[in-house]
Amino acid sequence: MSAATTLPPAEVTKRRARGGRLSALVTRVWLIPVVVAAWEIGTRQAASAYFPPPSQIVARAYELWFSGPAAHLFLTDDALGDFLPSLARLFGGWAVACVLGIGLGVALGRSRALAGYIDPLVEFGRAIPPPALVPLFIVIFKLGTEMQVATIVYGVIWPILINSIDGARYVDRLHMDTAEVFGMGRAQRLFRIILPAAGPKIFAGLRLSVALAVILMVLSELVGSTDGIGYQLSYTQMNFDLAGMWSVIVLLGVLGLVLNASFLAVERRVLSWHRRARQTT
């Protein structure tokens, strides 16, 4: 006699749904524990100094960052000293690039003449690989936060700019005509028509830029910094602390994953109209 037969039908379906979700989750992520286990066994067997087993990496990460006092959310001073400056640069640079990129992009997208003058410069600017500007920024800004933020802004702005131009340029003619006929002012057109219409494109650019921002944050900190996650990376390397180094790598993977997931969550909310409209047609 199974307990389910005595349950009310609603409860049964709920349980089934939960079971279904659980099994769906299992079919999706089963490979991860398998890979981690295989990695653990393999590295223990090989006993290479360069490839510490995952358990050791986790222990080192805990020791480095998460064994702090409860008042600091268990974060150690090292963690606070490394994460906060890095994240501040990351988000600061990204925010500046967003404002500049979207603002300039919409202006260029809406004005054919302006775009005509600026287009070749944009094409050239985005063709320069951003790290190539690091040596210049080092000379101009010296080593430090300014140089790092400049690197992030320069590297991240292009996908935002290009996509904003594209999105603003191809707003449906009839949308603009409707706005004109009903006498909408400039600000209203910008915020209620152009930006929403260009939204899907702009978000595509923003998503690309998040990944780039992490790369450039690490790069700029590796090149010259006295704090931050990238600094931690070069510090562990110099001290031949391989478990520590792997911890930083894993941490950066998690950071990228979390950033991407939160970004997608925001995008889903903001652009839900777009997703659902596309499903219906």
Partner: protein
């Protein structure tokens, strides 16, 4: 229309160059930090005839191209396999999602410890970075194949491999090429980053580090100009290739107009 675009573009470039020159000449910016535009352009012209610089450019190109090639050879077949086996795709997806965001720049310190050879270090980083867009786009392209087309082929009695060769791969090809374009851009970024970080002796990045250490911003900027030209040429070549190879795709998606 086109002539006007060219005229405007040329005006824009000229205005920027002249403004930069004037800013230096009037003392608005410190020329010891940012040299005059004319100086930079002159240096850039000289660099073309500088064998040391050309060797550096060549070094970067080799790392970049070889890295891309290896990434294509690894990632495209793997993406094809995973993309045509839905179960394998669902199983590996979380793994891909976790490995992909690890910036390959962050792997450089580790790779440096593991591999002694300078250009092999850089190449490994380029391969890692370039493989992800290739893999993901290939998988996506294969998943996106019109099921009706596949079923039509099956209904005529074609086997799995024939369907793959005649329907799935051709229709996924544009996505793969998009992956190649993304990989090319990321590959150049990582190649130059690696040169900056590993402090190797060859490559445009190494050239810039040396010039920067000697406060020769004129040389740094001149090299930056050439790096931009490199990026422009690569992108133009790939766009042209994409256009020639997939006229039909561009025409249906309206990307060309």
């Amino acid at each position: 229309m086109i002539r006007r675009r060219v005229a405007r573009g040329a005006t824009g470039v000229a205005v920027l160059l002249i403004a930069a020159e004037l800013a230096g000449r009037t003392g608005l910016v410190d020329t010891s930090l940012l040299p005059l535009m004319s100086t930079v352009l002159a240096r850039a012209a000289e660099l073309v005839a500088d064998p040391a610089f050309l060797a550096d450019v060549w070094g970067t190109l080799i790392v970049w191209a070889a890295g891309l090639l290896i990434a294509v050879v690894i990632a495209v077949p793997l993406g094809t396999l995973l993309g045509s086996l839905p179960r394998a795709e669902t199983a590996t997806r979380p793994l891909v999602e976790f490995l992909r965001p690890i910036p390959s720049v962050a792997l450089l310190p580790l790779i440096t410890l593991l591999i002694p050879d300078d250009s092999a270090i850089k190449m490994t980083a380029v391969v890692y970075a370039a493989a992800w867009p290739l893999l993901v786009n290939t998988m996506y392209g294969l998943r996106d194949v019109d099921p009706i087309a596949k079923e039509t082929m099956r209904s005529f009695g074609f086997g799995r491999l024939a369907v793959l060769a005649r329907v799935s791969l051709p229709s996924a090809a544009p996505f793969v090429l998009t992956g190649v374009r993304l990989a090319t851009a990321v590959g150049l970024i990582v190649a130059v980053s690696a040169e900056l970080i590993t402090g190797g002796t060859a490559g445009v990045g190494a050239f810039m580090i040396r010039a920067g250490a000697g406060f020769r911003t004129d040389l740094v900027l001149a090299a930056t100009l050439w790096a931009g030209v490199l990026g422009l040429v690569a992108n133009a070549l790939l766009l042209e290739l994409q256009r020639r190879a997939f006229r039909w795709h561009a025409a249906t998606s309206g990307e060309l107009s």
